[in-house]
Amino acid sequence: MTGHAATAPALAIGGRRQRRTGSLVAWVILLAGIVYFIVPLIATFAFSLRPTPMTLAYTNVLADPKFSGSLLYSFTVAIITIFASLAIIVPTAFWVRLKVPHLRTAVEFVTLMPFIIPAVILVFGIIRVYSAKPFVFTRTEFGSDALLVAAYVVLSFPYMYRAVDTGLASIDVRSLTEAAQSLGAGWPRIIVRVILPNLRTALLSGAFLTFAIVIGEYTIASFLARNNQFGVYLSLLGQNKAFEPAAVSLISFGLTWLAMIVIALIGRGGRDRIQITAAH
């Protein structure tokens, strides 16, 4: 009995020490992460302030119509890509989980293809197929824009499919679908009213990733001669100017975060609406 009483506080002290060491390691890792993330931003910011006056790089960039034009173009392409990707991935992932779960691995493999096939191969394939009859898309602006979106949709597959599939795994898709069916709902209502609202977080994370990829993409856009894509504009700017690319990088970084916050707020807005309905 005495032995137990003596060892218990010793064990407790040992446990506390272990916990303290563990939390110290966690803090060190967190700090290292913050430094890794923040230092390049601070360095870029410091570099962008070198000209005289200090804000010259920023005023030049903001005065350049190509900057706002390319940013608007890329934002538009990103939003269209997100919706197109969702329109393809959500029904596919839903159907695979519900009706053909044995094909899940195969479908997942197909969605991972953009990781295996480099973007440059993809864009050469697109140009080869869609610049000759019967599908001549590359000769018009609209056609090239459509090809750009289509290529980005393919690039978004690995992120979007995984996000949606994880979201579907967190709900009982089969039972919810069958419950809705037994209550008289058809497929469109089941997807829009039952499945999609329960995938909100998954859809948002898929949308964030797609947005981030599209904004900074260079290879496909440059080969399709989409010079107003933000990634291409940034690259061209870097070839001619010293401080402006740093300013553009920071502004675009801020704007991208702002856009993501807006998407998140739109998502949260939907949830609030549900709760307001509940309060009636």
């Binding site: 709900i171 009982d172 039972s175 919810l176 069958e178 419950a179 809705a180 069916q181 037994s182 209550l183 008289g184 709902a185 058809g186 209502r189 009213r193 039952v194 609202p197 329960n198 549900i274 309905t277 509940a278 309060a279 009636h280």
Partner: protein, 366 residues
């Protein structure tokens, strides 16, 4: 013509036969339970009625109309799932009103009907709550209200109480039965719990390996099982290997102790047959005149609250279980104590498909 008819229903999943030659005619307002062990085809049959599975062969008719190939959303059949399947993004009121919204009923009518249904399941003030804010029992009540709200022609329940604790299970099953009687809705209930099936149903369909073993009232299924499987699955059962002494007179023996049953036996003298004997048919002591008497020793005594279960060894490898009601004056016998038990000649049933070397006591769900 019956209200719900399943004729010659078969369901194959590749080479696996899930349901074989299933025939059932349920009347309007009847409460029918499908009872059987896991994998016996009861849920598959229910899913075929709901429209989630299409039969490989056979027809399903509802109120005279053939619904065999009709999609589930056009069958007007309400379903309650084991996992509740409430829509997490909708509150209780929206869940219950979903079927009515699909049918484009006016909003004031929906509000009124949702209120009625929530009162019916004793959740009148829970409308604004979300499923995650409710207990399991409350969630299943919401699911029941949702399945009933659009006035379906048939209510299907797929093991609705399996995920709940014992006390809630008993109270909710009484509520389900009361609501079913009140609404007079034809109901098909799937369960592997014999107590649930016996207490709820007008008729029970006992199933095994995709086939119907017996259809009957709870009284018939329990007291007059037609197959060895039903006898062993429904209720607790002693299975005794008995040697035939005089087949015509129904005289048999176990471990050298002779007794008789009320019916002649279709076997020859010297053959060994299986006898089924319910624990409640066996009493301690010699019993009234004409009772069969066996002597043995006490192998085990278990106190189960309202009853005391005893196991009496009659011969080597032959043990008879009997239940005695608990009362304060009850004197419990000691282990290995010699004891006499008795049972009426009408008590034992002759089984054909239960092996003689099988367990001495079988209990459903055990």
């Amino acid at each position: 013509m019956s209200f719900l008819e399943l004729t010659g229903i078969q369901k194959h999943f590749g080479p696996v036969v899930a349901v074989e030659d299933f025939n059932l005619a349920a009347e309007k307002g009847e409460f029918v339970s499908f009872l059987g062990p896991s994998g016996c085809g009861k849920t598959t049959t229910l899913r075929m009625i709901a429209g989630f599975e299409i039969p490989t062969a056979g027809t399903i008719r509802l109120d005279g109309g053939d619904i065999t190939n009709r999609p589930p959303n056009r069958r007007n059949v309400g379903m309650v799932f084991q996992s509740y399947a409430l829509f997490p993004n909708m509150n209780v009121a929206d869940n219950v009103g979903f079927g009515l919204k699909v049918r484009k009923r006016p909003s004031d009518q929906i509000r009124k009907r949702v209120g009625e249904l929530l009162e019916l399941v004793h959740l009148g003030k829970m409308g604004p709550r979300y499923p995650y804010q409710l207990s399991g029992g409350q969630q299943q009540r919401v699911a029941l209200a949702r399945a009933l709200a659009f006035e379906p022609e048939v209510l299907l329940l797929d093991e609705p109480l399996s995920a709940l604790d014992a006390k809630i299970r008993v109270s909710l099953r009484q509520e389900i039965r009361a609501i079913q009687r009140q609404l007079g809705i034809t109901t098909v209930y799937v369960t592997h719990d014999q107590e649930e099936a016996l207490s709820l149903s007008d008729r029970i369909v006992v199933m095994s390996e995709g086939r119907i073993e017996q259809i009957g009232t709870p009284f018939e299924v329990y007291n007059f099982p037609t197959t060895g499987f039903v006898a062993s699955f429904v209720g607790t059962l002693n299975v005794l290997p008995a040697a035939v002494v005089d087949a015509g007179a129904g005289r048999l023996s176990v471990g050298g102790q002779e007794f008789r049953i009320s019916r002649p036996v279709e076997a020859r003298a010297g053959d060994t047959i299986s006898l089924a004997l319910r624990p409640e048919m066996v009493t301690l002591g010699s019993g009234p005149d004409g009772s069969n008497v066996l002597r043995g020793t006490v192998a085990d005594v278990s106190f189960l609250g309202s009853i005391v279960r005893m196991r009496i060894r009659i011969a080597e490898g032959v043990v008879v279980t009997l239940d005695v009601f608990n009362e304060p004056t009850l004197v419990l016998p000691q282990l290995q104590e010699p004891i006499t038990i008795s049972f009426p000649a009408e008590g034992p049933l002759v089984l054909e498909s239960v092996p003689v070397a099988g367990p001495d006591l079988l209990a459903a769900g055990a």
